[in-house]
């Protein structure tokens, strides 16, 4: 590092000394601030009285108790939630955020605490309701199976308009496998594509099944049905994990240990059934 000005160099030296004087090199974590959207039911949402509730709130309380951390949530918009972490506004993200190769370039993740497949939601009356491979699990890690599924889906989806939340793994899936086949329409939030699906402005929406389960249980949800294969793996990542700064390996260790325990003793399964009505806990070995 070359600093141009002698005064700056002196200041940097003083700063380095100050850092050396505090023996906090391996950081001892006691308090963690976790960012969440508070608007992504049932992962995280607000109760009418303004309290944060949801699967991830319950889970965080459990995880933090396991490793003796005091955890505090802050509500943050999805846009800019990663820059906020790296800028140091909070220490962790729990917002139904999928672990992907792209995100791993800028932040670190704990091991996965949920693994929910991605699929389409369509209107019951739509011809797409009988899409090929409906309900079949397709792992994008399996190249042959993926190609076969895409080949079967392509004629059914040709020219259709698919709504998807912007900057998500689902958007990546469409861009990678269905570009030029379907018309991709991106939305800021998932409920915006739900609205357009209900309005008939898009033919299908693509999101995680855990999200759609709650959509289907809400007013108007009885007109919708899930269709197409249940995609996992590959660019969809390894599930959702706690987003962490790369400079905090000690914190990752704590969360990894707590999550492994919570998977092993069935806590995540119990919480998943409570909030999602379906088990989306990851397999213990993953």
């Amino acid at each position: 590092m070359s600093l141009p000005h002698p005064l700056l160099r002196a200041l940097a030296g003083a700063a380095a000394l100050a850092l050396l004087a505090t023996p906090a090199l391996a950081k001892e974590w006691t308090k963690v601030v976790i960012a969440t959207e508070g608007a992504y039911a049932p992962y995280n949402l607000h109760a009418p009285d303004g309290k944060l509730i949801g699967f991830e709130i319950d889970l965080a309380n459990d995880l933090c108790a396991r490793v003796k951390l005091t955890c505090e949530f802050v509500a943050q918009d999805w846009d800019g939630i990663i820059p906020g972490l790296n800028a140091g506004k909070y220490d962790a993200i729990m917002d139904g955020m999928s672990i992907t190769a792209k995100r791993l370039e800028v932040i670190n993740f704990s091991r996965a605490y949920t693994r929910s497949p991605t699929t389409f939601a369509v209107e019951k009356t739509s011809p797409l309701a009988h899409m090929p491979d409906t309900g079949k699990r397709v792992s994008l890690d399996d190249k042959a199976a993926t190609e076969a599924a895409i080949k079967e889906l392509t004629p059914a989806l040709k020219g259709k308009i698919i709504g998807v939340q912007i900057a998500t793994i689902q958007a990546d899936l469409l861009n990678t496998y269905f570009k030029g086949v379907v018309e991709i329409r991106t939305y800021k939030t998932t409920e915006e594509h739900d609205l357009d699906l209900a309005a008939g402005r898009v033919d299908a929406a693509l999101a995680s099944t855990s999200y759609f389960v709650s959509t289907l249980s809400k007013p108007g949800g009885d007109k919708l049905v899930l269709a197409g294969p249940l995609f996992t793996g590959g660019l969809l990542g390894q599930g959702t994990g706690v987003g962490l700064r790369k400079s905090d390996p000690e914190l990752k260790e704590l969360f990894d240990r707590a999550i492994s325990e919570a998977i092993a003793d069935g806590t995540i399964r119990t919480l998943s059934l409570k909030w999602f009505k379906t088990d989306i806990s990851p397999p213990p070995s993953s």
Partner: protein, 240 residues
């Protein structure tokens, strides 16, 4: 949309979002008001610089209005909120502060919206100054008024009268642009609407509520500005 259910949803009962929405409306009002006052300060300084005899001052003011009228508000908010805290923290590290330094969402919102609105305010005030009939200023000079006395008695009150309608427009603009501050997580109307829609999966109910909340705020403040205009016009004769 069933109406009874809707009023329970946005009402003040145990399952109602009323108190959250009210708090959000007050937050919108608070952040808009402080951004508006910030814009007045920026606008006054900007207009004074644009009317100054010194060329570098005029160029600076010109650069300010060109830049902040020419870039989207949202970009300015992002720049201050995420970029600002990164810059501040880096500066802090240089001086041995290891933690996080940053402006809070309210401050960033006030500053970002205030700076952009201030650029418009500059033009409003400058335009108002030029609307003063030159004869009045000449008359003030002729009776020997100094610059400050002239500002207090003649140019200040006269320019305010001409500026008020324009300032009313800037206020409405600030009130609506305060919605952009929702990206920082500040619990103002739009953010609360988004939280409510995402938490209940009832987006239509919440968006309609937001519509009426903003409309109520802009309409009510519109009355206030009209009242203020009438007050400054009280000695004017208008063509019938």
């Amino acid at each position: 949309m069933d109406l009874g259910g809707y009023f329970t949803l946005i009402g003040f009962g145990p399952t109602g979002w009323g108190d959250q929405l009210l708090a959000a409306a007050l937050m919108t009002l608070a952040v808009s008001a402080s951004a508006f006052f910030a814009s007045l300060a920026f606008g006054l300084v900007g207009a004074a610089a644009k009317l100054a005899p010194s060329a570098p001052l005029r160029w600076l003011a010109e650069a300010y209005t060109t830049i902040f009228r020419g870039v989207p508000d949202l970009l300015v908010i992002y720049l201050f909120y995420f970029g600002g805290s990164q810059a501040l923290s880096a500066l802090g590290h240089l001086f041995g502060h290891a933690g996080f330094l940053g402006l809070n969402a309210f401050m960033v919102g006030t500053l970002a919206v205030g700076l952009v609105a201030g650029a418009y305010q500059t033009e409003v005030i400058r335009g108002a100054y030029f609307a003063i009939p030159p004869g009045e200023i000449e008359a003030a000079r002729a009776v020997g008024m100094g610059r400050l006395l002239m500002l207090r008695r003649i140019t200040g009150p006269r320019a305010l009268r001409f500026a008020l309608p324009g300032m009313g427009n800037v206020w409405q603009q600030v009130l609506k642009e305060s919605a952009l501050i929702s990206v920082t997580g500040l619990a103002e109307i739009l953010r609360e609407i988004h939280i409510g829609a995402g938490s209940t999966h009832l987006p239509f109910d919440f968006y309609v509520t937001g519509f009426f909340l903003y409309l109520a705020l802009t309409t009510l403040s519109g009355f206030l500005f009209r009242g203020a205009e009438a007050w400054t016009m009280r000695a004017e004769r208008r063509p019938a």
